[in-house]
């Protein structure tokens, strides 16, 4: 069983082409807690998240300076292995995106990539991850059914299970409930709270209430600048920057 790990970001700057997106961000993500990242649309939340599993590397115009350490290792070091990094940093996307294959194959895809081929072991992974994602009871009799036939909320939990299938200590979630109905959304929020026991979770949202409900620590990002990063309770009570206050009271964003 994985335990969460810490993530340290040092002087991170990123660009898409000549557009400066993230501006000199430094911070420290604690392990085994949920850090909520808030901010108005387009301020760079997704970009930030995607630097942590190096998914931005696939964008041609992306450029960055600065360092990110996971468990003390610089993930952008020339010798760093991007594939094993991504194995250790799971990601859940804004829209549910199950692979066009069965529920079971959706879960086993990751483990198989990393050399697990034993049938029993894979079955075990399918069961434990689906249970962790609170989906097992709903799908245990239909594991061969295509993942795309599930409801939106179920699909998103399947995607969470898929992310957990390779047992990553870190889980990145990019507005995982914004495309779902309220009931599915609250189910997934509960799930996130449950998961933080074992994972370091970074949850991007532009829903302030959700950040307050779910997260232990919160970051406020505004136009690419890290304006505030503190305990959620502290930010909810007395934000130290007027822009944060304006955002959480709904005046900007």
């Amino acid at each position: 069983m994985a335990k969460g790990t810490t993530i340290e970001v040092k002087n991170l700057n990123t660009w898409f082409g000549r557009k400066h997106i993230l501006k000199d961000i430094s911070c420290y993500f604690e392990d085994n807690c949920v850090t909520g990242v808030m901010g108005p649309s387009g301020c760079g939340k997704s970009t930030w998240l995607r630097t942590i599993n190096r998914l931005n590397d696939t964008v041609g115009s992306f450029r960055m300076t600065g360092e990110i350490f996971i468990e003390g290792k610089d993930i952008y070091a020339p010798t760093a292995d991007v594939y094993s990094l991504r194995r250790r940093v799971g990601m859940v996307f804004q829209r549910p995106n199950p692979f066009p294959m069965s529920i079971k194959d959706n879960i086993t895809f990751g483990p198989k990539l990393h050399g697990i081929n034993d049938g029993d072991e894979l079955d075990e992974i399918v069961e434990t991850t689906l249970k962790k994602a609170a989906l097992w009871d709903e799908v245990k009799d239909n594991l061969e059914q295509p993942g795309t036939t599930l409801s939106g909320g179920q699909q998103q939990r399947l995607c969470i299970a898929r992310a957990l299938s390779v047992d990553p200590p870190v889980l990145l979630m990019d507005e995982p409930v914004s495309s779902l109905d309220p009931l599915s959304a609250s189910k997934i929020e509960d799930l996130i709270v449950e998961l933080k026991k074992d994972y370091t979770i970074i949850l991007v949202t532009h829903n302030v209430q959700q950040a307050f409900r779910v997260s232990d620590r919160a970051a406020f990002l505004y136009l690419g600048e890290l304006v505030e990063f503190d305990k959620t309770a502290k930010i909810a009570e007395a934000p130290s920057d007027p822009r944060t206050e304006a955002f959480i009271t709904g005046r900007i964003g």
């Binding site: 599993n53 998914l55 696939t58 041609g60 594939y83 094993s84 990094l85 991504r86 194995r87 940093v89 799971g90 990601m91 996307f93 804004q94 829209r95 995106n97 692979f99 066009p100 294959m101 895809f109 990751g110 990539l113 990393h114 295509p146 795309t148 036939t149 995607c159 898929r162 992310a163 299938s165 390779v166």
Partner: protein, 330 residues
């Protein structure tokens, strides 16, 4: 304004009265009559214009559809006569025997020939177009190279097939000295297929949401694995549909084969060389229809009917795959 309103109310009343007036006629006829009345009742100049326009449109529709039905009736009746008949070269024999003396037999040579030619075309054309499309779409960034390949493919897809025939003859038959026959014909069909399959494959790949690729990469998959296991898998129905449609199209082409495949009243005995001359269904239709003998003309119709049936079947399969899977993905 008021005028129009009262007019409308009047219309409603009339319609209401008409619905009352059932019982005399069988239901379907009654409905048709009501429909027809509604179409033809004239209340003013606007309605008249409307009616005239509707009539004009109906005439246009009939003219547009007529060739289709005429082809179907002509090819269908004459062709069916041969396919259902029991003489020499009729019925099942039509599919199972070669023409023989006086072209009295069936067209097995043409059916098998088309199968060989299309088989070679697919064997060569499909992998090339698939790899091409995958490389262009997944491994290059938008830019000069990508747009020039796409432009070239679009232009090629629009070129008349006789030009491919001429190219196949000069390049394959003469310049490369392959000689006429199965290989030259099949390769020419492959050239014709490549642009279409390339473009439809590209389109299918492009339909795959970026986040599906990213989900795979985020699990630690390589680009290669992502492309083969996720992207192509998601695009597969679209790819197959494109391949089938292109296959249906080249099956019916005569022009690319006239100078490249030759013709053969028997079955080919080799892939290249003189023994490889091969018949094909469209070519056979063409040569049989210009024959002075009546029963040979009839066999041309039967061949055409068979070819149409085959292409229709392929299109139906393509349609089925694409519809079934769009439902699954959306």
């Amino acid at each position: 304004m008021d005028d129009v309103k009262s007019q409308l109310r009047l219309d409603e009343n009339e319609a209401y009265e008409e619905t009352e007036d059932t019982g005399y006629h069988p239901k379907a006829f009654n409905e048709f009559e009501r429909w027809f009345k509604r179409q033809t009742t004239i209340h003013g100049r606007r309605d008249l214009k409307d009616l005239l326009f509707k009539m004009l449109l109906s005439v246009v529709v009939i003219i547009v559809c007529m060739p289709f039905f005429m082809v179907l009736i002509q090819v269908g009746t004459v062709g069916m006569g041969v396919l259902l008949g029991s003489g020499p070269g009729q019925g099942l024999d039509f599919f199972l025997s070669t023409p023989g003396p006086g072209l009295q037999g069936g067209v097995l040579n043409a059916i098998a020939g088309t199968a060989y030619l299309v088989g070679i075309a697919m064997l060569v054309g499909v992998p090339l177009s698939l790899f091409g499309a995958i490389y262009i779409t997944e491994y290059t960034r938008p830019g000069f190279m990508r747009s020039s390949v796409e432009f070239a493919a679009d232009v090629l897809a629009g070129i008349p097939s006789i030009v491919f025939g001429a190219f196949g003859f000069t390049f394959l038959v003469i310049y490369l000295r392959i000689g006429m026959g199965m290989l030259a014909g099949g390769l020419t069909l492959a050239f014709m297929m490549i642009p279409t399959v390339l473009r439809t494959t590209q389109e299918a790949l492009r339909q795959v949401p970026m986040s599906l690729r990213e989900a795979s990469l985020a699990l630690g998959a390589t680009k290669w694995t992502t492309t083969w296991k996720i992207t192509i898998r998601a695009a597969f129905p679209g790819i197959i549909t494109g391949v089938l449609l292109a296959m249906g199209r080249v099956m019916g082409e005569t022009a690319p084969l006239i100078f490249t495949s030759g013709n053969n009243l028997g079955l080919p005995t080799s892939v290249t060389g003189p023994g490889s001359w091969v018949a094909s269904m469209p070519y056979t239709v063409w040569s049989y229809i210009s024959d002075p003998r009546n029963y040979v003309n009839d066999k041309a119709q039967a061949t055409a009917l068979t070819l149409m049936g085959m292409v229709l079947l392929i299109d139906l399969i393509a349609n089925f795959i694409s519809r079934k899977v769009t439902r699954r993905l959306v």
